[in-house]
């Protein structure tokens, strides 16, 4: 049997190429992810370790997270006296402010290590020799425009325990050298100033022994490290211990690599999806191979093979494929990652946390194990199917053989139950947060998301189980339409696609899962984006507000301007002239400028309960009343604000932030009486918007001092910052408010996340498309005789190719359509479960992107048909009929 199996594998190699490719991809994906993790850690290890490169021992405080022991001058002397200790170095590290024209920035300042411990290297110039000299690292120099010869001013705030006060100490330093940037991510910053230790000691005599630097010890030649370490431990206070730099780096690493691990966990989810899709492709391939080998298997059974031998022969074939493909997959991953590092490593360096390629055993073993297990599990179904081949089937004439197994009623029932139960849970979990609304305390959202997740998982299993029923039906339906356009080859293609419903359904399922996930992510992302943007619009309806700036009540200029404008002079703000409005409107990216009156609210108070919180009064929640009043006409507000229809400005109602909306706002009017307003959401925190007639009751101001700006849609955060810069350039003293930058940043974050997730899911889709090509080429091989017969009966080569292309497009296009449909459903419901509690779900479907996904999938399917159909068309009718 072994021999027959091996011969069969050898003969089937061309048929196994595609499935191997699918396994290679999935395994490479997993391996690359693990290599990424270990490489990030290795890079980190190298960069952390670099600073202790010249130490034999370092002094840890004995904690598990890699902190240095505190070493006082006293202790230092004791350690230096230990037998075998050659030198000791306590790094002095502190923070200092660099004073520049446009403000001050915090920098790390570090004492230059003695020669024998020094790991900092010079890029140019020299190390500081006196306490008026400093070296600066490359990236800090670039960031703050520093060069050799520059003289900088610094300030250090020395804290005195006695007086509990800070004393500023300013110094002047000359830059004498540029050092290479530190790669240590554990450092407070990427680098800073290197100065003499005398300089630092002078800043703060008490700093000694309290800085965060890790004390390093060098040993005399021939000294026994562990014996010396033990002696040092004895003099170190509070559990501190001397350990090797390696051991210390491991401690630091463990406390730092949570990020790398989290990334790996997230990536592993996508690896899991790729493996799942891969399993579907494998199962399908082996099912096809088994059905193609039905006669051979029956013959083997006649000749005395028992069911177990047949079962094992299929699994053996799977194991061989799995081992070969998995090993190749790991090699591909290693090649890919080392290539990536070679190309991008020098470019990104430590910024990406990736400089050292590290392939640890887990990155080799686990992907191979996963590849083999997934392949074996996936091949079990087909193997069991193979054992059901009856010996009698060897006696039947060829054409009577029908491999197609009819799908059972049990499958239908189970699938339906899963869809109904899972679907109900999903819908309930998605709608619940919206119904409960924002009053919930957050646990509903988590519960809702969890329910939606479970519901989705359960119903998706059902949907895939039912695929065997609806996929052929959909293909038949759509095929009937296309048959009209493509004539006989279109009709034949439709019949071919549905002749083996289980195979078609399995192939389609792989693609449905891949495309469905992408569609889900795209839709959920779009809904999330629209909902968040909408919510931000409600909370911060004005893109930008520009206040002219406080110029002082007593300013003569102010007074004269205000006087000439004939208004009251009590605001203290410069007036916004019509020239200003024109200037603002002329800035690129500004859509609309609405000048508005503004007044400070001195004695506002809130009462009653807000719309959002059903319990607790304003005081309980600590919300303060608005401090600024703005007046615009309802029409102007409608045109400039991004709030929804519900935010309507009218007399008697003040628009306030959503936290306090619904409370009563009581203000002292110009005439000294108390006026009470209803409130409704439609403004940002601290600002209340009134109609001009209401505003007149609380302020006598008639000169606009604030401009409300609406920006063009779709500006990036960078563009909005440019707008703000342009405004600052025109009005240097203006203060600019508004959350448009935030909104743009949110949009960008969501878009970036979507792009990454889609990219990661693309691996699964590529595997699914390999599956489409595989199924097609296998069925072409299987139908060689039949296709030859068709050719002999007058089907042209082009018609044959057309038939196979139509089959491919039908299968991949319809799978993509179904996947997209499901994805929209799951995406909207999933987003509702997550964001429903925030309120105001905006259902928005990214039609264009989804259309692109469907078109790409269909085209990829077409591409997948090119190979098989060329092979089929190349065969002459005679050659085709001769094969068996």
């Amino acid at each position: 049997m072994r021999r027959a199996t091996i011969a069969s594998i050898r003969a089937h190699i061309p048929r196994l190429v595609a499935v191997s490719l699918a396994i290679i991809l999935a395994v490479a994906f997993m391996s690359a992810t693990l290599i990424l993790n270990s490489s990030m850690k290795a890079t980190l290890r190298e960069s952390i370790g670099q600073q202790y490169a010249r130490a034999d021992l370092v002094l840890s405080d004995g904690s598990s997270y890699g902190a240095g022991a505190v070493v006082t001058q006293d202790t230092e002397a004791k350690i230096a006296a230990v037998d075998g200790v050659e030198g000791i170095y306590i790094p002095l590290v502190s923070g200092i402010s660099l004073l520049q024209d446009d403000g001050e920035v915090g920098l790390q300042v570090e004492a230059l290590a003695p020669e024998e411990f020094r790991t900092t290297t010079l890029k140019s110039g020299s190390f500081p020799a006196t306490d008026t000299e400093a070296a600066v690292d490359e990236s800090t120099a670039k960031q703050h425009n520093l060069a050799i010869g520059d003289v900088i001013s610094t300030r250090f705030d020395r804290y005195s325990e006695n007086t509990e006060e800070f004393t500023p100490i300013t110094s002047t330093l000359t830059i004498v050298g540029i050092t290479n940037a530190s790669k240590n991510p554990a450092a407070f910053s990427s680098g800073g100033l290197t100065v003499t230790s005398a300089f630092i000691s002078a800043l703060d005599p008490n700093m000694y022994g309290t800085s965060y630097g890790v004390t390093q010890v060098a040993l005399a030649a021939g000294a026994d490290a562990s014996a010396v370490a033990a002696s040092i431990d004895a003099v170190l206070p509070d559990g501190g211990e001397a350990i090797t730099p390696d051991a210390f780096v491991s401690l630091t690493l463990a406390s730092l690599t949570g990020g790398a691990d989290l990334l790996t966990v997230v990536l592993m989810v996508f690896v899991g999806i790729a493996l799942l899709v891969c399993a579907l492709v494998i199962a399908n391939t082996f099912a096809v191979l088994v059905s193609q080998r039905t006669r051979e298997l029956a013959l083997l059974r006649c000749l005395g093979a028992d069911a177990r031998q047949v079962y094992r022969s299929v699994l053996f074939e799977a194991v061989v494929v799995a081992v070969v493909a998995s090993v190749l997959g790991v090699l591909v991953a290693i090649g890919l990652m080392s290539g990536l590092l070679a190309v991008f490593g020098p470019l990104l360096g430590s910024a990406a946390g990736l400089a050292v390629l590290s392939v640890d055993a887990s990155a080799l073993i686990w992907p191979i194990v996963a590849g083999i297990v997934v392949t074996l599990v996936a091949a079990m179904g087909p193997a069991r199917q193979a054992t059901r081949v009856a010996p009698l089937q060897a006696m039947r004439p060829v054409d009577a053989l029908e491999a197609g197994v009819r799908a059972g009623k049990g499958r239908f029932a189970v699938g339906l139950v899963l869809v109904v139960v899972g679907g109900a849970l999903l819908v309930f979990s998605s709608v619940m947060p919206t119904l409960i609304g924002p009053s919930g305390n957050g646990s509903e959202a988590i519960l809702g998301f969890f329910g939606a997740f479970v519901g989705s998982a359960v119903s998706v299993v059902g949907v895939i189980m039912l695929a065997v029923f609806y996929v052929p039906a959909v293909i038949r339906g759509i095929g009937r339409l296309t048959g009209r356009f493509f004539g006989v080859s279109g009709r034949l293609a439709t019949l071919n696609s549905v002749r083996n419903p289980r195979r078609t359904a399995a192939t389609a399922s792989a693609l449905i899962i891949g495309v469905g996930l992408v569609a889900t992510i795209l839709t959920a992302g779009q809904v999330a984006r629209a909902t968040l943007v909408n919510e931000l619009g409600e909370r911060e309806p004005i893109d930008l507000s520009v206040s002219t700036g406080y110029v002082g009540v007593d300013s003569s200029v102010d007074a004269s301007v205000n006087a000439s404008a004939g208004s009251s002079v009590d605001t203290g703000y410069a007036p916004l002239t019509s020239a200003d409005v024109t200037a603002l409107g002329g800035i690129d990216g500004v859509d609309l400028v609405v000048p508005a009156l503004s007044a400070d609210l001195g004695s506002a108070s809130l009462s009653g309960s807000s719309e959002e919180s059903t319990s607790g009064s304003a005081d309980d929640w600590g919300y303060s009343p608005p401090w600024q009043a703005i007046s615009v006409s309802p029409e102007a507000y409608a045109s400039v604000a991004r709030a929804s229809e519900s935010a309507q400005l009218r007399d008697g109602v003040a628009l306030v932030s959503s936290e306090i909306a619904g409370k009563k706002l009581t203000l002292t009017g110009v005439d000294g009486t108390q006026t009470q307003f209803d409130t409704s959401r439609g403004s940002s925190d601290g600002v209340a918007i009134f109609t001009p007639s209401d505003f007149a009751k609380i302020s006598s101001t008639t000169t606009p001092t604030i401009a409300l700006l609406k920006l063009d849609d779709g500006l990036t955060a960078a563009q909005i910052l440019q707008v703000r810069d342009a405004i600052s350039a025109i009005f240097p003293s203006a203060s600019i408010g508004g959350a448009s930058v935030e909104r743009a940043v949110y949009e960008q974050i969501i878009d970036t996340l979507l792009l990454i997730v889609t990219g990661l899911l693309a691996v699964a889709i590529v595997i699914a498309l390999i599956g489409v090509s595989n199924t097609l080429s296998l069925s072409v091989i299987e139908r060689t005789r039949e296709n030859a017969l068709l050719r002999a009966l007058g089907l042209t080569r082009a018609q044959l190719r057309g038939m196979l292309a139509t089959e491919a497009i039908l299968m991949s296009g319809i799978a993509a359509l179904i996947g997209t449909g499901l994805g929209i459903l799951y995406g909207v419901l999933g987003a509702m479960s997550l964001f429903g509690a925030i309120g105001g779900i905006v259902v928005s479907v990214p039609w264009l992107s989804l259309l692109a996904v469907v078109v790409v999938a269909a085209l990829a399917g077409l591409l997948a048909s090119v190979g098989p159909s060329r092979r089929a068309a190349r065969l002459t009718p005679i050659e085709g009929l001769a094969t068996n």
Partner: protein, 254 residues
């Protein structure tokens, strides 16, 4: 014959290689019901070459499938040698096929991915039983396959493929070799070669052979011809020639 667990048939321990006892086989249900075998009792003596003939649809293949344990019977019993086949489970049937019966089919006899020698050795390979090399060499020489052992089925002529199948069947020295239209796909010369090989195997090696055929000329190579009609035994000729067989068939209305 009610007990299945006693695998010993009553009297014909020595003479019978295969035996059908009051076998009924019905296909389908209701209107489409076909009685393929209608109370068939027949005995195939050891060492004889028997041909089964009859009109199309008369139940020849069905009888052979039932005798070989490939298909179940609705009533009656089948025995191979002294073993009762009826009621055996899949494992027992597999063991039976390994040791006790051989097959030669009309087509698709060989595993296309294995060469001739590997195909011949496949049953002993599957059973993991040792190969009698002397017997192997003898069979290969007798069938004239010496120069073809390393060829794949696709590199062999139809007649050579059938001879490989015969060699495979002979190698295991089974109780019975079943052959369903073994010459159906061959021209008369290649067919005659295969048939005389089968006859030699039966005469010189004492091999029991049961062959289904349509061709009176092929049946004439057999020691005995059993005639079937509508699922019943309709005749039993010993050492008949082609003309005699043709005449007997004619009487059946075929």
């Amino acid at each position: 014959m009610s007990s299945v667990s006693t695998p010993v048939a009553t009297n014909d321990r020595v003479e019978s290689a295969a035996r059908a006892n009051d076998v009924v086989k019905v296909y389908g249900k209701g209107d489409t019901q076909v009685v393929a075998l209608d109370h068939v009792t027949i005995d195939f003596p050891r060492g004889k070459f028997t041909a089964i003939m009859g009109p199309s649809g008369s139940g020849k293949s069905t009888l052979m499938h039932c005798l070989a344990g490939l298909d179940t019977v609705d009533s009656g019993t089948i025995s191979i040698g002294d073993t009762i086949v009826t009621g055996m489970n899949d494992t027992q049937l597999t063991l039976l096929r390994r040791k006790r019966v051989g097959f030669v089919f009309q087509a698709f006899n060989l595993v296309p991915t294995l060469d001739a020698e590997q195909n011949i050795l496949l049953p002993s390979d599957l059973a993991k039983s040792p190969v009698d090399r002397i017997w192997f060499e003898q069979v290969v020489d007798t069938l004239g396959l010496r120069g073809r052992l390393k060829h794949r089925p696709s590199e062999l002529s139809g007649g050579q493929q059938q001879r490989v199948a015969v060699a495979r069947a002979l190698l295991g020295r089974p109780d019975v070799i079943f052959a369903d239209e073994p010459t159906g796909n061959l021209d008369s010369k290649a067919g005659a070669e295969v048939l005389s090989l089968l006859r030699r195997a039966s005469r010189e090696m004492g091999q029991t052979i049961i062959m289904v055929t349509h061709d009176p000329a092929a049946a004439a190579y057999a020691d005995r011809v059993v005639l079937l009609a509508d699922g019943e035994i309709a005749g039993d000729l010993d050492g008949a020639g082609p003309d005699e067989i043709l005449a007997a068939l004619g009487r059946l209305g075929a």
